[in-house]
């Protein structure tokens, strides 16, 4: 939940969330252009903006970036290895049951392109989640006329995520302080109890919440007032010109490789 903390404390908190969403989404769209330079520029750009503009510590950002590598790298690795027809094609290879398997220049290229594109898109997403609190995002979605019920659900899910995490943590601590997880068997037993009491507690809590909401005049809609952040024209101009520049890079370098 490190990411969520920075969403509230970063220096771009007072920029209109719509602008941040636009920046993230348009960069992602540009990222789909099959061009390795564009992807590289996007990754770099997001890093620079996050560290310099949003004030996210470099270490933290790198740590966050490492997270997706754990599932990205294995799949990239699999992509690199192909069945090759002739010995000469492979840069490196081995045989399994008379089938020659190896790594070719082409497969490296494909894997690299994919890896960079994935990282570019991911860094766009990270930009959004590290600078924009969920609350603000929901507010933008509301402006974009997303159905109310979905927004309400998002809001409650978001809130209760933290409530349950806290609750789980507390029950877990209480169990383990009584040696509830000392052996695997005891662990399974305790886990079962944890889930059960979580269910019961959840039910009770939602009851109390409902009563509390009713006491404040709840009539079926969770209406709240959102803060009013003005849209900055210069920011919009910046975003659009950046994206245009990126497209220009794509045009000039013509597909990248070779």
């Amino acid at each position: 939940m490190l990411i969520d903390n920075y969403a509230y404390t970063n220096k771009l908190i007072n920029v209109h969330p719509g602008e941040k969403l636009l920046f993230s989404l348009t960069s992602m769209a540009v990222g789909f252009v099959p061009n390795i330079y564009v992807d590289l520029v996007i990754i770099l750009m997001m890093g620079v903006v996050l560290v310099w503009k949003a004030g996210i510590p470099t270490k933290v950002y790198l740590k966050v970036l490492v997270l997706p590598l754990s599932f990205l790298l294995p799949s990239i690795f699999v992509l690199m290895i192909n069945v090759v027809s002739t010995e000469s094609q492979a840069l490196w290879g081995f045989s399994v049951f008379h089938v020659r398997v190896g790594v070719t220049a082409a497969s490296i290229k494909v894997a690299g392109l994919l890896f960079l594109r994935a990282m570019a898109l991911i860094s766009c997403l990270f930009f959004l989640s590290l600078t924009t609190p969920m609350i603000d995002l929901i507010m933008v979605l509301e402006k974009l006329k997303v159905p109310f019920i979905i927004l309400e659900l998002m809001q409650l899910v978001y809130h209760f995520l933290f409530v349950f995490m806290e609750m789980t943590y507390r029950i877990y601590i209480s169990q383990s302080s009584r040696l509830g997880y000392i052996t695997p068997k005891a662990g399974i037993n305790s886990l079962g109890r944890l889930v059960t009491s979580l269910f019961i507690k959840t039910y009770q809590d939602s009851e109390s919440l409902y009563v509390a909401l009713e006491a404040r005049g709840y009539d079926g809609e969770l209406r709240v007032l959102n803060k009013n952040i003005p849209v900055s024209k210069s920011n919009l101009f910046c975003i659009l010109s950046t994206e245009l520049l990126l497209l220009l890079v794509a045009l000039v370098t013509q597909g990248g490789m070779r």
């Binding site: 609350i135 809130h159 919440l209 509390a212």
Partner: protein, 406 residues
């Protein structure tokens, strides 16, 4: 218009499953009085409060707001909930929104006010709770005490006339609890009707104007804190302890301090204690009450003792009186002291002769004198037998006087 802001008549309530939480409760909360519902856990306090703004509907019995019976129609409920706000015990389950600002805006939004007005009310109530700075903070970043404040701001923003607090100091450390109580006082000073529930006798004693003691869904008693907390029967029935302050008060009285009323809080206690001390030095006299015949030798001895005590200067005057047979007798001596402008007379019965029994009549006699001089404070110290250090013993006893004759 009724003098009662909220009133219940014979309210019975059952939770699903037949748990009878309220067993015929009648109570009336007077306008402007800081009212406390006091009772142990499970007494039915929370259940009772949920009746006050129409969340729960009694199985039988009636609930009144401003003298009008609560109707459970949609529009009247909305109106009721606008006027009667409840701050629940656990802020963790009361808050739902992402940010503090959104959270507090929920109530006013439900009143369908224009948006600028909603904003104004939110700002105002955040300010009243001293949490303007937390405005943009997400709820899950807050400490328990901060959440408690937000939950109060939640209700304040709807500007209700009546604010009901269910165990407002539960789980708070003493310092934060005190701050919350200060806030309640401030709200009261601003003209809000405040009702709170608690199981804490100390809070109830020092804060309330009026206390309702409930247990097992029934009202055991009601009255001013002074009345309730001196009624040992009610306290025992309700499993409640005596407030700490009253324990101190009892000890101080034993040690010889006077109070013409019960202290409300520590400050109050200090004030009324000090006052007495000053008066005591200025305006007290000691009366040595001797029992027995006025044999030549003993008479001389007694008056010598009185002379010595006088010289010690702890009392403005020292007199000797004989309870029986002889002059000067008690009434006579008291009369003389009163004429000299003494406002407090401490009587130490001194049995200087062996073979004399403790006399039960002394308090009676003193009472008669007290009836004649109602303005004079008359106190009786423990009797003393013969002792070589007679002077010191008498003045010790006088300081540690026990019974106030009233």
């Amino acid at each position: 218009m009724s003098d009662y802001i909220l009133e219940m008549k014979d309210v019975v309530f059952e939770y699903p499953g037949g748990i009878r939480a309220l067993k015929g409760i009648s109570l009336a909360i007077e306008k402007g009085k800081k009212s406390v519902i006091l009772g142990p856990n499970g007494a039915g306090k929370s259940t009772l409060f949920l009746h006050f703004n129409g969340i729960l509907k009694p199985k039988s019995g009636r609930v009144f707001y401003q003298g009008e019976e609560i109707r459970y129609s949609r529009t009247s409920l909305i109106n009721l909930r606008k006027n009667v706000g409840i701050v629940f015990q656990d802020p963790e389950t009361q808050l739902f929104a992402g940010s503090v600002f959104q959270e507090v805006s929920f109530g006013p939004m439900n009143l369908h006010l224009p948006l600028p007005e909603v904003e104004k009310k939110v700002e105002e109530s955040l300010k009243a709770m001293g949490i303007e700075k937390l405005k943009e903070r997400p709820i899950h970043f807050l400490s328990y005490g901060q959440k408690k404040r937000v939950s109060i701001a939640d209700v304040l923003a709807m500007e209700p006339d009546v604010l009901i607090f269910d165990e407002p100091t539960a789980y708070l450390d003493p310092k934060h609890a005190e701050k919350i109580m200060d806030i309640l006082d401030e709200l009261h000073a601003r003209g809000k009707q405040i009702i709170l529930s608690t199981h804490d006798v100390n809070i109830a004693y020092s804060w309330a104007d009026y206390v309702f003691v409930i247990k097992d869904g029934m009202v055991l008693g009601n009255g001013t804190p002074q009345e309730i907390f001196q009624d040992n029967k009610i306290l025992e029935e309700a499993d409640l302890k005596k407030p700490f302050l009253l324990d101190i008060y009892d000890v101080l009285r034993e040690k010889g301090f006077f109070f013409d009323r019960l202290p409300r809080n520590i400050c109050d206690l200090r004030n009324i204690c000090d006052l007495r001390r000053d008066e005591m030095v200025m305006n007290s006299a000691l009366l040595i009450l001797v029992h027995g015949s006025r044999a030549e030798g003993s008479q001389k001895m007694v008056f010598e003792i009185a002379e010595k005590l006088k010289r010690k200067g702890e009392y403005q005057d020292v007199e000797v009186a004989y309870l029986q047979f002889n002059h000067p007798d008690l009434a006579e001596s008291v009369e003389r002291l009163v004429e000299n402008g003494i406002a407090e007379i401490i009587t130490v019965p001194a049995f200087l002769f062996q073979g004399i029994h403790v006399i039960k009549d002394i308090p009676m006699e003193l009472k008669k004198v007290k009836d004649r001089y109602p303005k004079v404070r008359i106190a009786l110290a423990n009797p003393i037998g013969y002792d070589d250090r007679i002077c010191d013993v008498i003045s010790d006893r006088a300081k540690g006087r026990l019974i106030e004759i009233c």
